[in-house]
Subunit: 137 residues, 2 copies
Amino acid sequence: MEKYLQILREHGIKVTPQRLEILRFLDTHHTHPSAEDIFHELKKRNPSLSKTTVYNTIQSLMDHGLLISIVFSTHEARFDSVINHHHHLLCSECGKIIDIEVECPFTKEKITGGHRIDEVHGYFRGVCKDCLRKGGK
Amino acid sequence: MEKYLQILREHGIKVTPQRLEILRFLDTHHTHPSAEDIFHELKKRNPSLSKTTVYNTIQSLMDHGLLISIVFSTHEARFDSVINHHHHLLCSECGKIIDIEVECPFTKEKITGGHRIDEVHGYFRGVCKDCLRKGGK
DNA sequence: GCCTCATTTTGTAATATTTACAATCTGATA
DNA sequence: TATCAGATTGTAAATATTACAAAATGAGGC
Ligand SMILES: [Mn+2]
Ligand SMILES: [Mn+2]
Ligand SMILES: [Zn+2]
Ligand SMILES: [Zn+2]
């Protein structure tokens, strides 16, 4: 837990048990969880946890560049503490969101078509490797 | 209007005035409107229009590959009748969603990292050309 | 032209995620 | 230990989307 304490301190985020737990969960579960996923899991050990705290903490971590949101549909946002640039695939078979490590040409260009590009997000839809192996399709 | 009548017929979508109007609006306004935008605009000429019809029609057009949804945030979905592949930039200054015509290497590969890729969406955030010219930043 | 019936439209209600807010709590500091 | 700004909590509000059933529509057959 020392690791997460240090991360929060380095970013000037006041350390609280809730923030430590949320950060730890995100760092140890690279499954792109939703706010509900985080809340549901951490509430087991801390029954007084509030969903508002989860949302507040998520926002705080995003403001400090420690977290990105992944939005495949308006239904819900998913979150990822892996900041180094990568794309994402939503598997139509198993529903998982999977990291795609690719060399994306647009991440390097600061200007494209005259527009300034600050962030690049690649969202793919398809069928993941595991599901292809199992089911065919 | 003959054009949209033909499009619906070709795709086996039953022709109705509402569907014609929605299709026409999308084809003549490449501003990536929201469902609310479409509803609000078309209700002027057809006061009995229902928002459910807008959503139903959007879904139908998407099912037939005539429309794609653009999701930058969970707040709302935006829609685009331009199907030929292109990426999108959300300008943090003016809020517009702008088409980015680029050669994207991932659209050609059917398999990437062992996963099957069916759809590729490129979402950029930044500042558009017009806003750069005006405001600096 | 009229009937029929499947489909569509409409209006309302339900769902669910996210945000707003105020009271309470906490923890660092002096 | 007293203070107090900031964090947490619970509840309520906002809002986009979906579900549903009744009414309307429109193409095809007579
Ligand atoms: Mn990821
Ligand atoms: Mn577009
Ligand atoms: Zn899969
Ligand atoms: Zn702009």
